[in-house]
């Protein structure tokens, strides 16, 4: 199990979701992915994407204008 980071700053939805989806393809079950985004829409889209594709939305953290969305690969 490893932890990864994905930079999706300044991307507008659905690009952060697409980047997340493509990154997740390289990861293993149980891995953690932190996606850093600036589009607040990602906070509804990435968890929705994770739910329908069988991954777990662990939570999110807001730091100034940046959102860190954490998912666990299912």
């Amino acid at each position: 199990m490893s932890e990864y980071e994905l930079d999706a700053r300044r991307m507008l939805c659905p690009m952060p979701v697409i980047k997340t989806q493509n990154k997740v393809k390289e990861l293993q079950t149980g891995d953690i992915l932190n996606v850093i985004c600036t589009d607040p829409g990602a906070l509804s889209d990435i968890p929705a994407w994770a739910r329908i594709n069988g991954h777990e939305f662990v939570g999110h953290d807001q730091q100034d204008d940046e959102l860190i969305i954490t998912i666990k690969i299912g």
């Binding site: 939805c13 690009m15 989806q21 889209d45 329908i52």
Partner: protein
């Protein structure tokens, strides 16, 4: 046990694609969704850049639809490939810059490719929510076989909502799907779809008025054509198409245009481009951030800043102070008289 045949559905996020999926699910068919991101798609978030739209639902309709249907969704970035569809559509454009027929063919052909790649996982055919006569350009009786043929899908393309009005496809002929339980919707009347939605318990679905993307919007299309004219070439990058969605666009001279933020939300969004594009900001009063796209020299500063000042709180002052920032150069501060509303010419508005 008989082989389970699976379908991939083109999901736009609208009601029709949701219905098409549910119709097949009712027959026990496993479906996964595919959604193509061309860069022009209408989705809540770019609207949400503007302040007054903040309360609007910030959801991606395709993801939302997939969740309602309980299906997986694959979102595919086709921004680069789509350029050729938009710039050179074999079948031409619709009422605006929307190349709907070529777009449909392109998307179905991408789905064909996906089915080939996922055939070993049981995927054999493609479904769409198309309805004959629903859209003036891409969904006519004559265009249905064109989409099927030119995309390379041929008889593996099934349209559950109007299948009974079309020749039987492979999934029907082979008995994977019961044709009797498919539909014969046609025309622009949406009542049958609404009734079926009710039957399936779908509420709160998205119903895009014109189409699934910004290209059906006259205003947006005009801005796109203006961009090409201004540059002297028909091309675009992702940043260009994002910026066409934001701000008030004015072209006081063929060489450059101004993108004036309409509220604080847009100003904030445009901030992100200040390292790439020249920008103008009134500093003596509150006012919108403005980006400049094109060839912009010292001689243009007064006019451009005068226009920008018109849209800020200093509009009635005799003089305001503004900064002009060209990436990689020193910031220049100028004094300028705001233009009057008559001086901002009608034809400058893109």
């Amino acid at each position: 046990m008989a082989k389970q045949h699976k379908a991939v559905a083109l999901i736009s996020g609208g009601l029709d694609s949701m219905l098409a999926v549910r119709v097949l699910q009712e027959q026990g068919i496993e479906v996964e969704g595919i959604n193509f991101y061309t860069g022009f798609c209408v989705e809540g978030h770019t609207h949400a850049i503007r302040n007054h739209d903040k309360d609007k639902q910030k959801r991606n309709n395709a993801l939302w639809a997939a969740e309602q249907l309980g299906i997986k969704l694959h979102i595919v970035d086709v921004i680069e490939e789509y350029k050729d569809v938009l710039l050179n559509p074999k079948h031409g454009y619709g009422a605006n810059m929307n190349p709907c027929l070529d777009c449909k063919i392109f998307m179905v052909s991408k789905a064909v490719q996906w089915v080939k790649e996922n055939h070993t996982n049981g995927f054999d055919f493609i479904i769409t929510g198309e309805v004959i006569g629903q859209r003036p350009m891409s969904q006519r009786k004559q265009t249905m076989p064109i989409v099927a043929h030119e995309s390379g899908a041929d008889d593996i393309l099934l349209r559950p909502l109007c299948a009974k009005n079309l020749p039987a496809t492979k999934p029907e002929i082979e008995g994977w799907v019961d044709r009797e339980k498919l539909y014969n919707f046609s025309g622009r009347n949406r009542k049958p779809q609404m009734a079926l939605a009710k039957e399936f318990g779908f509420t709160d679905y998205a119903s895009p008025a014109g189409g699934c993307c910004f290209l059906t919007d006259k205003n947006y299309s005009d801005k796109l054509v203006d961009l090409w004219k201004g540059r002297g070439s028909r091309d675009y990058e992702m940043d260009d198409i994002m910026l066409l969605k934001v701000g008030r666009h004015l072209r006081p001279k063929p060489d450059y245009k101004l993108i004036v933020a309409r509220d604080a939300g847009e100003s904030k969004f445009l901030q992100g481009y200040r390292k790439q594009l020249p920008s103008i900001q009134v500093i003596s009063h509150n006012g919108p951030l403005t980006l400049v796209d094109g060839t912009f020299g010292r001689d243009d500063y007064q006019t451009a800043a005068g226009i920008v000042a018109r849209y800020g709180q200093g509009r009635d002052s005799d003089e305001v102070e503004a900064t002009v920032t060209i990436p990689g150069q020193d910031v220049v501060t100028i004094k300028v008289k705001p233009l009057t509303s008559e001086q901002v010419r009608e034809e400058w508005h893109v």
